[in-house]
Symmetry: C2
Subunit: 350 residues, 2 copies
């Protein structure tokens, strides 16, 4: 769906906890930034704990059919302590990523001026993690025998295919090529996970030959966590497996301003299915409904969504507004969720 269609048909999934609040602000800013001649059509879906408690369903085939008709999906957060761990994660979040083949999980980390970081000094942080989204230990392969007994055995199978690895590695090389520093780091654990590790490393090296301008390096995932806190400036683009990507992007979010500002895209670059954009943070039930949640991560996810759909100018406008807003936060009293959304909406419209 390109910008020229001038209709933006969005599926909106507020979800649980603070999801409701932050999505409202994301939509506020989206409406404010869109050109007059673009019509925003939204349809809200009630996925998450509410739907699960009401019907026992998480995501049906009919739901997937409905979602498929949108240009993109904006999600707040899914998850609630009242639902057993794993039910909504596997039954909704991961089911959607797999059903819509969201194999590029894009997570930028940029420490903006004025933003607090737990790191000492003045770290320079500006990288993007391209996390594989449809393979690895996330496939749900595995099982349990003799459950609940002292002889229980539980397995988890990480599945890695040349097809799946190559497409995400190619995506990452293309992104690295397009950035000024042109550097790509492969993060894995190929000295222990030698089967998957060799596949990732070989595919990476093969594709690297097509990108002579891109500087490449390989780092074990354990060492990568060290560099993320001691030398974050060394990273430009990182490509990695689904689980390693999950882990290092939370750490990356923490060092680059916290999960209050970390955005993500679950992207299907082919466009065969709509891509989904969501803040990295969860539903934070402890602060839900109190107007305390920072909607910035959702607003930045809206920027990723717009860029994905071809609205580059509008995406940049949101990012500039967020930078300006964050720069002014230091020393100011905390604002409510809606006040931050209002301020950003004014900035992008102005």
């Amino acid at each position: 769906m390109s910008a020229s269609s001038r209709i933006l048909n969005l599926a909106v999934i507020p979800g649980d906890g603070i999801g409701q609040e932050v999505v409202a602000e994301g939509l506020k800013v989206l409406s404010a930034v869109l050109p007059q001649d673009v019509k925003l059509e939204t349809k809200e879906y009630d996925f998450g704990a509410r739907r699960y408690h009401a019907t026992g369903e998480t995501l049906t085939d009919a739901d997937l059919d409905a979602l498929k008709r949108h240009d993109a999906i904006l999600l707040g957060a899914i998850g609630d302590p009242s639902v057993p761990s794993g039910v909504l994660e596997r039954g909704f979040l991961l089911k959607l990523r797999f059903a819509f083949d969201h194999h590029v999980n894009l997570r930028p980390s940029k420490l903006l001026p004025g933003v607090a970081t737990p790191l000492a000094g003045e770290p320079q942080i500006d990288f993007v993690v391209v996390r594989e989204g449809t393979e690895g230990p996330y496939t749900g392969n595995g099982g349990t025998i003799r459950k609940g007994t002292e002889h229980e055995v539980a397995t988890e199978v990480s599945v890695n295919t040349a097809y799946g690895v190559e497409r995400v590695v190619r995506d990452a090389f293309a992104r690295a090529q397009a950035r000024p520093r042109k550097k790509l780091t492969l993060v894995h654990k190929n000295n222990v996970l030698t089967f998957a590790g060799h596949l990732w490393t070989n595919v990476f090296d093969r594709v690297a030959a097509e990108y002579p301008e891109v500087t490449t390096e390989y780092i074990h995932v354990d060492a990568a966590t060290i560099y993320l806190v001691t030398q974050p400036e060394r990273f430009d683009v990182i490509v990695t497996d689904n689980l390693f990507g999950d882990i290092i992007t939370d750490l990356a979010a923490a060092v680059s301003g916290g999960i209050g500002v970390a955005a993500s895209g679950n992207i299907n670059p082919s466009g065969a299915f709509p891509s989904m954009f969501e803040p990295v943070h969860g539903s934070a039930p402890d602060i839900a409904g109190q107007g305390k949640a920072d909607p910035t991560a959702t607003v930045l996810s809206v920027a990723l969504l717009l860029r994905h759909l071809g609205y580059e100018t509008e995406a940049a406008r949101i990012e500039d507004a967020v930078s300006a807003d964050l720069a002014e936060r230091a020393g100011q009293p905390a604002r409510s969720t809606a006040r931050i959304g209002d301020a950003l909406a004014v900035r992008v419209a102005g």
Copy 2:
């Protein structure tokens, strides 16, 4: 082997790169701290890149038989760029952990006064990670089909047994019970890795019932990396799976003074096989042979070794010496590997 035997029969594996240098200092401090009436017997083994290049071997059955006869093993570091990734890791390090059933991988993190941390402010860090050492994705289960083709599939199987999980969870509860704060955190990813996650969570909850004084909590591994940089004081004892433990202990080392001071023990609590003690850092070939390596992590590993063998007083003496030495480092010119070892040897003897 208890302290009363008055012979300490140690296998020494200097290994590759800086391993040689740091182990020499570890032995220097060990000799200095031991009571006069304890006879230290050491036998050096040439495992690592040298042996591999000379013979193609990494660790034979005869080697294991020889190592088995020692009270404990002190290892420097294994790994060299001249050996393909995975060969020495799987063929030596992991083979030894598995053969000697080193299921408790103990990794303390304590930020000592005067030690630099990449974190801002004055973080309070004093926790220990009990990493499972013989299961999870480290078992070498898995494989590859259609290798090197565009249809390659590579799998890695994480194997988790009630037997294996329970023994390490029990070890962690006992350690938490013995510490002033009595808090134990389970780190896993039970919302995605639901088979292994349920096993870990159920075993953890069952054993928790026997330790009413221990406060427990569960944290997903991705969130744990956030807390390690934003609230490290929340951790007292952490118990976790082999791979998650690998990742978070490197991060833990980074925030609590760097891998220059991070010690570890690969422990078989039953005593059926000797336990192995080693610095968390690798062989650092880039600085090998230059006297630049910090032997502190190895010296602290010697303290863990002594405590394991019942030499509690001597272990504490080493730890005190290291604290005092680190406190005096700030602002001083860097000392060579041997100078640091000399200084620590003087302190523990004095």
